[in-house]
Symmetry: C2
Subunit: 109 residues, 2 copies
DNA sequence: CGTTCATATGTACATCTGTTCATATGTTAC
DNA sequence: GTAACATATGAACAGATGTACATATGAACG
């Protein structure tokens, strides 16, 4: 640390959200920060899918997909619906698409 | 794997972006997926800051901040400008704010 | 030149993360 | 009840990640 920033820091600290909110924000983006989960979300763009269809699509084990779906569900990004033996997952709301769209814009320009 | 999904999968595969793009998307969100980096970006909302101001604000070592700034710079999220001995960092473009804003909306409702 | 200040970088280490394997749960059909 | 299928879950392990420490680079000044 070095020269004086106290005025600037005071102003910024006042405008920064609470630590807990910033933590939650980081945790949310962490969920988006994995290719497998991004792929799952993209796959659900057109509608619901069962677990085994997703694992077939991504060519990954059912267990791996199930674990990732749990992560997505805990972050309220996907919802599940049971139909007989199968579980159908779908995107929870439009936020998923708009968050991905914003990221997409950043990297493609 | 189990019952047949070949039709569904064919359709979805056609509409999915390239693997490389999905990887890049994940990598981008990974950068947002850390509280320290989120805090740095929020701190830069109001304008540029030098490294030691940021490290004082977040109460972290200069080294830690420098490493994180490098990560942010590599992802084209912040830019740097030298003025004498100091380096001033600022947000590269409005994408940072809009991505964070979308995440913010998701967790606060 | 050498000194001081601001920042960058390499390394090491503890922690976190994603996948696999094995197994448990839950549903349907017999 | 049992068998078969779809999914969930726990444990273990390899690989990635964030920080601190030590040190290097670069700029300003005498």
């Amino acid at each position: 640390m070095a020269h004086d920033h106290s005025e600037l820091l005071k102003k910024i600290k006042k405008d920064m959200p609470e630590d807990e909110l910033l933590q939650d924000l980081g945790d949310l983006f962490k969920v988006f920060g994995d290719t497998t989960r991004i792929k799952i979300m993209y796959a659900l763009y057109e509608g619901e899918m069962c677990v085994c269809a997703i694992s077939e699509l991504l060519n990954m084990t059912q267990s791996a997909i199930s674990h990732q779906l749990k992560t997505l569900k805990d972050a309220n990004l996907v919802s599940a619906r049971r139909e007989g033996k199968e579980m159908y997952y779908s995107l929870s709301d439009e936020h998923v698409k708009s968050i991905i769209a914003e990221g997409y814009e950043h990297i493609t320009e």
